[in-house]
């Protein structure tokens, strides 16, 4: 029996067969669409990544180049700018010196730090009532630093310069996911922004050691002005280092000093856009009128020559020269003036010891000598005249001694209250201000270094001829002491920088050691005396004796360092011959 298939059944089967093909075609189509779409998305995302990477690299190059390539010239004509030659020249000790010196972001904190140190010296001198013209000079120095800073800021914010640095690197990076013809172009470069980030973080200016940072004796730096590394976690090697705080007003000598934050051991790196925007001076104002920014933004567009869909990206970067410096005045010196030694003659009169108003005699550093003292009317008790006569062994206190033994006589320190630590403190402070090597911030120079320098046996020879000595740093790490003629040969900048070595300190003098004394050994004389007229009865001779006392006075004149002179120590060594004559 043949059964006919109903038209309905036939239709169903027909549909089923054609449905499989249709399903297959649709599925294939969807798969192709999905695949192509996914591929396009992957390429787009990859392209986005490449664009971002290229813009990041370009922005990083801006952060790198801006540290050294943007500059303002240092005027060697203006004295308030010229004084920063030592902290801005690449080789400040080189002879002949390079005359075209630029101030860059790498160096500007050094300029501010030198101005700050001059201000600190002036303020400390003012505390001791020895300021003289130090505060005025410090203000001039700070004005000079501010002028340089403002000039540099005007250059830094010129975005036209950033574009070339961006192109240098961004254009070298691949954009192949967007097509072979894709290339990177800067986007709205005139509107690239700058920001002042990491406010209150450390600058790259390190202080000497730990508090009180080898600053002038008695001076305390406000703890709000300095900080340890603010990075978290603290980088290795940051322990024990103290830095000036960046973007923090530091008031000194009645003026304000600023530094830019450059965190310790941090390199130029990318930062988040919202944070960048939040710390722009327009969003978060600063009291620094013309702040030098430390963060910069850049945008780039990846475009195809055919005009296809491109990508754009923005990056923000914070710059860091990655080089710490020490707060210092590298081209500076400390002067020691040694007065010619003298013999004073004292006589015991009724009211006590009186120095003869005449008869002072000089002696020298070469030979031990003998001297004849004056005749002093009424120079004793019951005498009409006392004659100190000839005294031997004058000069034992200075002959054959190094400068250190003159300034800090060891026998003096062995007895009584002959404290020379005040001199030592002033000198140790000043020698630490002149050394510039960053290693000396970690390990400041000590009193031992000072004594070692002054104990140079050559100073025995120098003393035969010279009375003025200069301590300066030739290499930024150690100190040297020599007279002018030798110092200028060793370090010509002492002469070439406007004859710096002849400059006197800008403070006023004060005696800081008053008559340290030590009984002079082996002083032998044979004084004589004549009694008063025998009224009402003849006088009887009791004694004619003399002895010597070695003495030391030290005077300190502080220098702010504005003219290179950090101060003068004036040493006065003398011998007092005391003659005692008694008739009763």
């Amino acid at each position: 029996m043949i059964m006919e298939t109903s038209p309905k059944n036939r239709r169903t089967k027909y549909r089923g067969r054609k449905g499989a093909i249709a399903f297959g075609v649709v599925l294939a189509f969807i798969l192709v669409i999905l695949g192509v779409g996914f591929m396009a998305m992957m390429l787009y995302m990859g392209g986005q990544n490449e664009t971002k990477n290229a813009v990041d690299a370009g922005a990083l190059n801006i952060g790198k180049q801006i540290v050294d390539q943007v500059s303002t010239g240092l005027s060697l004509i203006k004295p308030d700018e010229r004084l920063y030659y030592d902290v801005t020249a690449n080789q400040p000790n080189k002879f002949p010196p390079k005359l075209d010196v630029d101030v860059t972001m790498r160096k500007i904190n050094r300029v501010w730090a030198k101005a700050l140190l001059i201000g600190i010296n002036a303020d400390a001198a003012q505390q001791d009532q020895q300021a003289g013209s130090g505060v005025d000079n410090a203000q001039k120095a700070i004005d000079g630093a501010e002028g340089l800073s403002n000039d540099l800021q005007a250059e830094v914010i010129k975005t036209a310069k950033w574009r070339a640095w961006f192109d240098d690197i961004a254009k070298q990076n691949s954009l192949r996911m967007l097509g072979r013809d894709a290339s990177m172009v800067p986007l709205n470069s005139s509107q690239w922004q700058s920001s002042c980030m990491m406010r209150g973080a450390e600058s790259n200016i390190q202080l000497s050691g730990s508090a009180p940072f080898c600053l002038p004796p008695g001076y305390t730096l406000n703890p709000d002005y300095y900080t340890t590394s603010t990075r978290q976690p603290k980088p290795p090697g940051s322990e024990g280092r103290y830095f000036l705080k960046g973007y923090t007003p530091i008031t000194v000598a009645g003026k304000t000093v600023w530094t830019i934050p450059f965190p310790y051991d941090e390199k130029t790196h990318l930062v988040s856009g919202p944070k960048f925007d939040a710390e722009k001076p327009s969003a978060q104002p600063m009291s620094w009128e013309k702040p030098i920014p430390n963060a910069f933004s850049a945008s780039g567009n990846a475009v195809k020559s055919g005009g296809g869909m491109g990508e754009h990206a923005s990056s923000c970067v914070i710059a860091n020269p990655h080089e710490p410096f020490k707060m210092c005045i590298p081209h500076s010196f400390l002067k020691i003036h040694v007065e010619k030694p003298k013999t004073h003659w004292d006589f015991f009169m009724y009211g006590g010891w009186v120095q003869a108003p005449y008869g002072d005699q000089e002696y020298d550093f070469k030979n031990v000598t003998s001297q004849t003292g004056p005749v002093m009317p009424l120079g004793g008790i019951g005498v009409s005249t006392s004659f100190a006569s000839e005294v031997n062994n004058i000069g034992l206190d200075v002959v054959g001694r190094t400068l250190d033994m003159l300034l800090f006589p060891p026998e003096f320190e062995a007895i009584g209250d002959n404290d020379t630590s005040k001199v030592e403190n002033y000198m140790v402070n000043r020698i630490n201000e002149m050394v510039s090597d960053p290693s000396t911030a970690q390990k400041p120079l000590t009193a031992d270094d000072l004594h070692k320098c002054l104990n140079d046996f050559k100073t025995i020879l120098y003393l035969q001829k010279w009375q003025d000595f200069y301590i300066w740093s030739e290499d930024g790490k150690t100190i040297t002491c020599a007279p002018k003629e030798i110092a200028c040969i060793m370090s010509p900048w002492l002469l070439l920088e406007n004859n710096m070595i002849d400059n006197e300190p800008d403070g006023t003098e004060k005696k800081i050691i008053d008559e340290n004394a030590f009984p002079a050994p082996e002083i032998q004389g044979s004084p004589t005396s004549t009694p008063l007229p025998p009224i009402p009865k003849p006088f009887v001779h009791v004694i004619d004796v003399d002895w010597g006392v070695w003495k030391e006075d030290v005077y300190w004149t502080p220098g702010s360092g504005y003219n290179g002179c950090l101060g003068t120590i004036r040493l006065d060594r003398y011998t007092v011959i005391k003659t005692l004559s008694i008739w009763v």
């Binding site: 029996m1 043949i2 059964m3 298939t5 089967k13 089923g16 067969r17 499989a20 093909i21 399903f23 297959g24 075609v25 599925l27 294939a28 798969l31 192709v32 999905l34 695949g35 996914f38 591929m39 992957m42 390429l43 995302m45 990859g46 990544n49 490449e50 990477n53 690299a57 990083l60 190059n61 952060g63 790198k64 180049q65 240098d168 690197i169 070298q172 990076n173 691949s174 996911m177 390199k267 130029t268 790196h269 990655h322 080089e323």
Partner: protein
């Protein structure tokens, strides 16, 4: 009855045949796209490794430090049955002027569904970064 049987046999096989035919087309297309995606991802990984290597090298002061640092950055990317090798091919560090560092990495990818003659691909990525330290 016989004619009906013949007709039923014909119609029953068509669906299967169609499905097989469609599968023959669809499966390779799917696998092709899978391979393509693997290629794109591999290329992206190569780019990323190259960028990281260049960034790390740019943070070193000398070529002696830069090369091992870049090697280490590249080595951090794990290899598997698809990514057979990823290595630092060249590093051009401008030690004299400290301008920039150019890094090239090479990634060899083994296709998950290899096509005859196209089982392995090699990608090169190049990145240029400014040297950030002196």
């Amino acid at each position: 009855m016989r004619a009906n049987k013949i007709h039923r046999r014909k119609t029953k096989g068509v669906g299967l045949v169609e499905s097989i035919v469609m599968a023959i087309v669809l499966i390779p297309v799917t696998l092709f796209f899978l391979d393509l995606i693997v290629l794109v991802l591999a290329n992206s990984i190569n780019d990323s490794a190259c960028k990281n290597a260049a960034r790390v090298a740019a943070n070193q002061k000398t070529i002696e430090d830069a090369a091992p640092a870049a090697e280490k950055a590249v080595a951090a990317y794990s290899k598997n049955s698809i990514i057979r090798s990823l290595k630092l091919l060249t590093i051009d560090y401008d030690e004299a002027n400290h301008t920039n560092v150019k890094v090239t990495t090479q990634l060899k990818v083994h296709m998950p569904i290899p096509f005859p003659g196209y089982s392995d691909f090699t990608f090169l990525a190049r990145d240029v970064e400014p040297i950030l330290v002196k």
